[in-house]
Subunit: 113 residues, 6 copies
Amino acid sequence: MNLIEEFNAYRAKMNDKILGEDNLVIKRFFNLDTNTYAAGELDVKTKEMIGLACSMVLRCDDCIKYHLGKSHEAGLKKEEIFEVFSIALVIGGSIVIPHLRRAVEYWEELTNH
Amino acid sequence: MNLIEEFNAYRAKMNDKILGEDNLVIKRFFNLDTNTYAAGELDVKTKEMIGLACSMVLRCDDCIKYHLGKSHEAGLKKEEIFEVFSIALVIGGSIVIPHLRRAVEYWEELTNH
Amino acid sequence: MNLIEEFNAYRAKMNDKILGEDNLVIKRFFNLDTNTYAAGELDVKTKEMIGLACSMVLRCDDCIKYHLGKSHEAGLKKEEIFEVFSIALVIGGSIVIPHLRRAVEYWEELTNH
Amino acid sequence: MNLIEEFNAYRAKMNDKILGEDNLVIKRFFNLDTNTYAAGELDVKTKEMIGLACSMVLRCDDCIKYHLGKSHEAGLKKEEIFEVFSIALVIGGSIVIPHLRRAVEYWEELTNH
Amino acid sequence: MNLIEEFNAYRAKMNDKILGEDNLVIKRFFNLDTNTYAAGELDVKTKEMIGLACSMVLRCDDCIKYHLGKSHEAGLKKEEIFEVFSIALVIGGSIVIPHLRRAVEYWEELTNH
Amino acid sequence: MNLIEEFNAYRAKMNDKILGEDNLVIKRFFNLDTNTYAAGELDVKTKEMIGLACSMVLRCDDCIKYHLGKSHEAGLKKEEIFEVFSIALVIGGSIVIPHLRRAVEYWEELTNH
């Protein structure tokens, strides 16, 4: 199983368990999170780039994978993704680099899929 | 070996090595850390819920595992744990979600043990 | 104007402006945030202590002030508050200390009010 | 002196002092930081929104002010800015709220200028 | 009152209040914190530079002021301090810059004192 | 393959891919990052200890591994490394402990190599 399938399968399995619990605050948060990235004043591409950059400066590998997947679906191309990476790197500093390495590996899998 | 045994074995092995070194500041910190969660003005359940929530907003998987184990020992039930999760999620935002997934998986192992 | 009035006045004024805008995600987030601290499986005191500790380890002075105010309203006493402080200090380390100083000053104003 | 003039004056004065020192790494970092936001694969508006969102989730008030100023110069309108705010709020959680309050106040000054 | 006196006076006043409370964990943490920077395998200068750099990447202005004061007492010179700044800037990224500005202002006061 | 070879091989492979892309900001950042740790006003040992401590308080395992490797090459001995660990632990708090465990394991491999 490759990185993408592994990420998606675990994410789907655990989200089902979480939403299967009777906790209204968590359910509403998950719902709100989904709505946040729907097209509005900003288009989906822009929102996904913002989500990706924030995930990088906050150094959350799973969040990076999620937004890379969505960015790929939305049609963002490699040069644009690397420019997002560059902004996140300068803002977040050298501690972003290990996450950049894993992001580049995941993006490569997404585009070779 | 399941998640719980793996976590506990590595933690015990490495803590032994760390405390085996002759560094007084580190030894005293470890001792202080243990004392922090002893019953005092607040009971153990409350302290473990606080430790768990802080570990989630700081996004430290090993800290989450540790406090989930202690919360389970202290007799906290699933509905209470999920309410702690919900507070941490709203405070810390969507970057907490990947840690929530792993926390739910670990809690499930603890309660099926 | 003391610290408490200053904090509350600015918070109320700006929240009004924020909620006066037509952004549904922000409005729903604010609503969710309020609901999070309502009594449920955990009582209000416990939730406020969790909110306070998380605010300290995340080093957010305004969040600390808010939860200190709510903790005071909920009837938490000084010894309990200092035990929450002690947990946050050990988890978050010495960088929490400047926030602890300001928290103690604010708590003092709350209880002298 | 209003918030904008105060921010710009202090920033200019201290940047001059910093760049007046003979530290090559710092000088090169400042230069790289400036280049990062120049139009490339992404336009200036998109880059400023990314910079703004990252500044919010990292909770850096001065960085937020800087990118709000640049976003205003680039012609971003209020509805777009609030959508950036909403993404940062959901990603970063309720600890972003105090920074959101100050951001809204600064944006108001920028647009009333 | 200048920046240095203001910082030291507030720090001393609040530390007295904190240590005047009967919370043993907090007292022991403060004691441990002091011991950490005593000469041992590493000399005081090296420890203060480490404390300063960590304070910068964690973006804690009061911690930066404290370690700048101690670094000045220990005899570190401006070129060394700026090299510590440069390491912290590259590790922590552009969000360190606002803290760097305030650090340079405080260092200037320390050396003009 | 041990921890050291695994870390170095992945790091080298991904850095090649990243630098193989035509993104000037990223290339310049990587170059600046390398220059930061060259001997200047401070010697290499001091710079590596600073890099190590910052990596620990920022909780970046790969950054810790990198600076442990460089610290070992520079001739730092175990007692010095543990004193750096102790400073990072007190500054960053108990959330540093899981990273300390992995750091001690990696250091052990470096010195048994």
